[in-house]
């Protein structure tokens, strides 16, 4: 818990590398992205050193459950299912989930996906939404965003469900015409995850998020990487 972290002088924050704009490796081979920046800020404000625990997407929850890290700051959407396994802070950022496709494909809601082939990243909120809301669509689940993006760039699939931030990256490389956003599935609130039973740590993190959201530092970090603004009422959602 909090006292232990202070005593240790190090906070271990888990980040899944490879979520575009949130956490990735920059050209200097250093971790970068809005989540990475957020983690750095948090450690600095707590007055301890930061140890980034680089993990994979699927390991985000188990890493916290088994105490391999103190916090997870990794585009982790706050859901009821996840709340049963770990605790979340108040929202610190959002993830816009969209369905995108080339211009010549006509889709405007879930019902239009019937009979189509749609790709997404496994174990994400996109996955849950699409699985729950469509019938008769062929869903291709890739293990991470990079593979998903590769599948669209290489032309294996045309329609994807992902977070809005990846669309730009895809369109830079794609040959068969750019993707456009067909509809927004939802804007998911992202929370900082931590193990259950740490009220002090949770309280500190909550307070930190609210303070830094209000003073604009968190919003600035987000906008730098994501090129969009966060909603004003985020921390009270």
């Amino acid at each position: 818990d909090l006292a232990e972290i202070r005593e240790r002088g190090v906070i271990r924050i888990a980040v899944a590398m490879g979520i575009p704009q949130y956490s990735y490796i920059d050209s200097n081979m250093q971790p970068a992205g809005s989540d990475v920046e957020t983690a750095r800020m948090l450690a600095e404000d707590l007055g301890v050193a930061l140890e980034l625990v680089e993990i994979t997407n699927a390991a985000r929850v188990p890493t916290i459950q088994t105490d391999k890290a103190d916090l997870v700051v990794s585009a982790l959407g706050i859901t009821d299912e996840r709340r049963q396994a770990i605790d979340f802070s108040v929202p610190y950022a959002t993830l816009a989930l969209v369905v995108a496709a080339p211009a010549d494909i006509d889709i405007s809601d879930y019902a239009d996906l019937t009979g189509k082939r749609i790709a997404l990243t496994r174990a994400t909120t996109n996955d849950q939404d699409i699985t729950a809301n469509t019938t008769g669509a062929e869903i291709l689940r890739f293990e991470d965003d990079a593979t998903l993006i590769t599948s669209v760039i290489s032309g294996q699939v045309d329609i994807i469900s992902s977070q809005s931030a990846v669309i730009g990256g895809i369109n830079e490389r794609r040959r068969g015409g750019p993707l456009e956003i067909k509809f927004i599935q939802r804007e998911t609130n992202l929370g900082i995850g931590l193990a259950k039973g740490n009220p002090e740590l949770l309280a500190w993190v909550d307070e930190w998020v609210v303070t830094n959201f209000d003073n604009g530092r968190l919003r600035e970090v987000f906008t730098t990487y994501q090129h969009r603004d966060l909603p004003d009422d985020l921390t009270s959602r």
């Binding site: 590398m17 490879g18 979520i19 575009p20 990735y24 490796i25 920059d26 050209s27 200097n28 081979m29 625990v53 680089e54 993990i55 994979t56 699927a58 390991a59 188990p62 890493t63 459950q65 088994t66 105490d67 391999k68 991470d144 965003d145 990079a146 993006i149 590769t150 760039i153 290489s154 990256g169 895809i170 830079e172 490389r173």
Partner: protein, 216 residues
């Protein structure tokens, strides 16, 4: 938009370094454990044979990925925190012990039973017979399949990424996640694997050829 540069290449080399470290750990620890498993498999005691047989069956029957996951997170569950390197090394050691044990058992048993008989009828103990007569011969037969397994193990260490281990494949994935140039990045990773594995394969083939000539 970023492009592939020397920084990326060095990052991959760093991943390759960890791949080699992990493989070396797995092979050195795994061969000790594998030797013990082999002894169990050829033992005269029924229960030892059965025990080691079950071990081999279970380990060979589950993917390395799942073994890694269970060891890394499983030890965490019971409160033992192991570093990723240790977890990956333990898992690959266990994995290697089953395969090496089985490969070596096959080799030892392929040495004609009459060699054992000849040694024993000269009064050698079972252990002396094994050490002086059987193992030196089995070792020659065992080298090609052992090298073959090593090559597979080097590639399978890529599964250690599940426990957050940044070896070659994972490094390639991380780079690809920011570059989105899968053919380039994975192509280079494949070439690096090839550069490590092919000499081993070549060596084992030459060895095999030499041994075959010996037997004629």
């Amino acid at each position: 938009m970023q492009t592939f540069g020397t920084g990326h290449f060095i990052y991959l080399l760093n991943g390759l370094w960890w791949t080699i470290i992990l493989s070396a750990l797995a092979m050195s620890l795994g061969s000790i454990a594998g030797f013990i498993v082999m002894l169990g498999r050829i033992s005269r005691r029924k229960w030892l044979v059965r025990l080691s047989g079950t071990w081999v069956q279970i380990i060979q029957g589950t993917p390395l990925l799942i073994q890694m996951f269970i060891i890394y997170f499983g030890l965490g569950v019971v409160g033992i925190s192991v570093p990723a390197l240790a977890a990956a090394a333990i898992a690959t050691m266990i994995y290697a012990s089953a395969y090496l044990g089985e490969i070596w058992r096959g080799c030892v048993q392929s040495i004609a039973k009459t060699q054992f008989e000849a040694a024993e009828s000269m009064g050698l103990t079972r252990w002396q017979a094994l050490r002086d007569v059987i193992l030196p011969q089995a070792m020659r037969i065992a080298t090609p399949p052992t090298v073959g397994f090593t090559v597979q193990l080097i590639k399978n260490t890529s599964l250690a990424s599940v426990v957050g281990f940044l070896e070659l494949t994972r490094a390639a994935q991380v780079i690809n996640n920011s570059l989105f140039e899968p053919f380039l990045v994975f192509g280079i990773a494949a070439a690096l694997y090839f550069a490590v594995c092919y000499p081993l394969s070549l060596w084992s083939r030459n060895l095999e050829r030499k041994l075959n000539v010996g037997r004629r």
